[in-house]
């Protein structure tokens, strides 16, 4: 980390990933004077307001106008600043999608988008405020790096790392309190590098966001039943960690992806593309929204309803282990 700062103040027991983001950004900005913050009337909801109250002269709340939000951020980036822009994921990726693409990605600007309320994390708000399309959208924009942190610690790591990661970065986090999967921030987070959360050889579960914790819990329970599950935290969806995906194909021949996102265009798609392009045979199941708008409900209920929780993952693992897979003897020659 080139900032020379250390972060040991975040309290994941009492702070949501968004709150941790707000604190980390406010700390980062003390040393990095080029950081400015922008939001569109969501300073409180996205927690960028924590930066805003500390650095009011470097913080711009443009009102409920997301297109202008990203256009102004582009202008500030062109003037030499590093804008952090926060709004809900659905507005960042869809309402202002063209501004993100054309004003930020096309000009390859050093702009960081920290989008909250992603996936189904705003469960009771309904589909107008859910966002199960952002990974597909953001992944298709050239120059964009796309990250979905697993918890508050990883959110902090991603926010710190993105400052010196050149070009546009999209970080999607949830809305409220999420349990942590990590016990601290020091596990070697690196953009583009998957993290092995649980070793295993029968099957691999690749997950993002809160689904990482569910996958780890499922793997622990399955271990008691004698099933060996590898769990990978695929926090960076773009660029996808091809090495980790192909190692999983080789070692386990069965992969399940889990994401609070439509199965089209997100983690599952990125993994599928990687496998198919390598020319390798592998069983793949994508857990996520099966091309439908989510029902309204408590977020935890929705994770359960869409089989993105411990039980859902265990069920999918059991089903996939029923299926025969062929061995691949030519692996070394082909990869």
């Amino acid at each position: 980390m080139s900032t020379g700062l250390t972060y040991h103040t975040y309290d994941t027991d009492h702070m949501t990933p968004a709150e941790i983001y707000g604190h980390v950004l406010a700390e980062l900005a003390e040393e990095r004077k080029e950081i400015v913050g922008l939001t569109a009337d969501l300073a409180k909801s996205t927690k960028i307001g924590k930066f805003g109250s500390k650095f009011p002269h470097r913080f711009f709340n443009v009102g409920i106008a997301e297109q202008n939000l990203f256009g102004m951020a582009a202008g500030l980036a062109l003037a030499g600043f590093i804008p952090f822009v926060s709004t809900f994921a659905v507005f960042a990726s869809l309402r202002a999608g063209e501004q993100v693409r054309t004003d930020i990605c096309y000009m390859n600007l050093n702009c960081k988008i920290i989008a909250t309320h992603s996936g189904i994390s705003f469960g009771q708000a309904g589909s107008t405020h859910h966002c199960t399309e952002d990974l597909a959208v953001m992944r298709s924009f050239p120059n964009m790096t796309v990250i979905a942190p697993a918890d508050g610690y990883e959110t902090a790591n991603a926010v710190i790392a993105c400052v010196d990661h050149p070009g546009p970065v999209y970080i999607r986090i949830g809305r409220g309190f999420e349990q942590t999967v990590y016990t601290g921030p020091d596990y070697g987070f690196q953009i583009g590098k998957a993290v092995t959360m649980h070793e295993g050889s029968d099957i691999t579960v690749m997950a993002i966001g809160p689904c990482v914790l569910h996958a780890v819990e499922a793997a622990k329970r399955l271990k008691e039943q004698g099933i060996s599950v590898r769990v990978l935290n695929m926090h960076t969806i773009k660029p996808i960690d091809k090495e980790a995906v192909l190692a999983a194909v080789n070692d386990t021949r069965r992969i399940i992806t889990v994401e609070p996102h439509n199965i089209y265009g997100g983690l599952g798609s990125a993994v599928a593309e990687t496998i198919v392009e390598a020319g390798k045979a592998c069983r793949l199941k994508r857990l996520g929204l099966q091309d439908e708008f989510a029902i309204v409900g408590y977020t935890d209920d929705l994770y359960s309803y869409y089989k993105l929780d411990d039980n859902g993952i265990m069920e999918a693992v059991a089903e996939m282990l029923e299926v025969e897979v062929e061995e691949d003897e030519d692996w070394e020659n082909e990869i």
Binding site: V36, G71, M72, G75, L78, A79, Q99, T102, D103, N108
Partner: protein, 280 residues
């Protein structure tokens, strides 16, 4: 300071050249947004040959004034001016629109020196310009930002989001022009979707607003001077222009929003431009 007669004579000469070069580039390009490129030219000429603090040998000079051509389709009338002031070799214009060329009809800031922002999709530029102007204030810099909007572009809601915030942040270092040539692609703006009273709209959004003849350098000059002196709010200069100005068979004809010319048509167009400037 008002433009002197000498200043105006120079600007007229440069406008004549810019119109000729635009038509020449249009032929090389095989087609382009002729009408809007010709209507905006006198605004760009006044900026580039008189008002802007720029260093074409150092296009990324931090303290330079910025220009955002929000009506990015005017690129074919903009690139010849950038070439003439020295950002790149005029010979490169022969590649305009060609496969693999740095020059497409909407200019790319990563490929064309002197372009401060990539534009093309309408309704984006004023927000970018406002961000740049805000950046200047944060950095305590005196650079100014000029943004050129199309009039049809003002149909875009995002223009008004940007207008609201530029006034809110009191960006008096930002000056917008509206190239009021009165046509969008499908016909007159007032028939397609009425913009008037346009000046009142800008005033109600908190801007200092002026309406001028966008082909009269004395008026363009005094409007820019007024913008430079206006404090506490941004200025918009609604420049009444003629689409296709200078080429008799293009003037006020929406069919020339986009079009191509062959060498015969080019000669006719150049002769028309020469006549307008008393050069024929």
């Amino acid at each position: 300071m008002p433009l002197t007669e000498q200043d105006i004579a120079l600007l007229k000469e440069k406008a004549w050249l810019a119109r000729r070069n635009t038509i020449q580039t249009l032929m090389w390009a095989g087609g382009g947004h002729a009408g809007g490129a010709l209507s905006q030219i006198d605004i760009l000429v006044a900026l580039y040959y008189h008002y802007l603090k720029i260093d074409p040998k150092n296009p990324k000079w931090e303290d330079r004034d910025r220009v955002v051509l929000s009506k990015g389709h005017g690129g074919i009338g903009y690139a010849p001016i950038l070439a003439d002031v020295g950002y790149f070799d005029k010979e490169l214009l022969k590649e305009f629109n060609h496969t693999g060329s740095p020059f497409g009809m909407h200019l790319d800031m990563l490929k064309v020196p002197g372009v401060d922002a990539s534009t093309g999709s309408l309704g984006h530029g004023l927000s970018i310009a406002a961000g740049m102007a805000l950046g200047a204030r944060l950095k305590k810099k005196t650079w100014r930002v000029y943004c050129i909007l199309g009039d049809g572009e003002c149909h875009e809601g995002a223009v008004w989001e940007a207008a609201m915030s530029a006034a809110h942040y009191k960006l008096d270092n930002l000056t917008a022009f509206v190239d009021r040539n009165k046509h969008c692609i499908d016909g007159p703006t007032e028939t397609v979707m009425a913009l008037e009273p346009l000046k009142d709209k800008w005033i109600s959004f908190g801007w200092h607003a002026l309406v001028i003849d966008g082909h009269d350098f004395a008026q363009i000059g005094s409007a820019i001077d007024e913008a430079l002196e206006t404090k506490g709010r941004p200025t918009v200069i609604i420049a009444q222009t003629i689409k296709g100005k200078g080429v008799d068979f293009m003037e006020d004809d929406p069919a020339w929003h986009y079009g191509g010319i062959d060498s015969d048509k080019m000669e006719l167009a150049l002769k028309s431009i020469d006549r307008m400037y008393g050069k024929a």
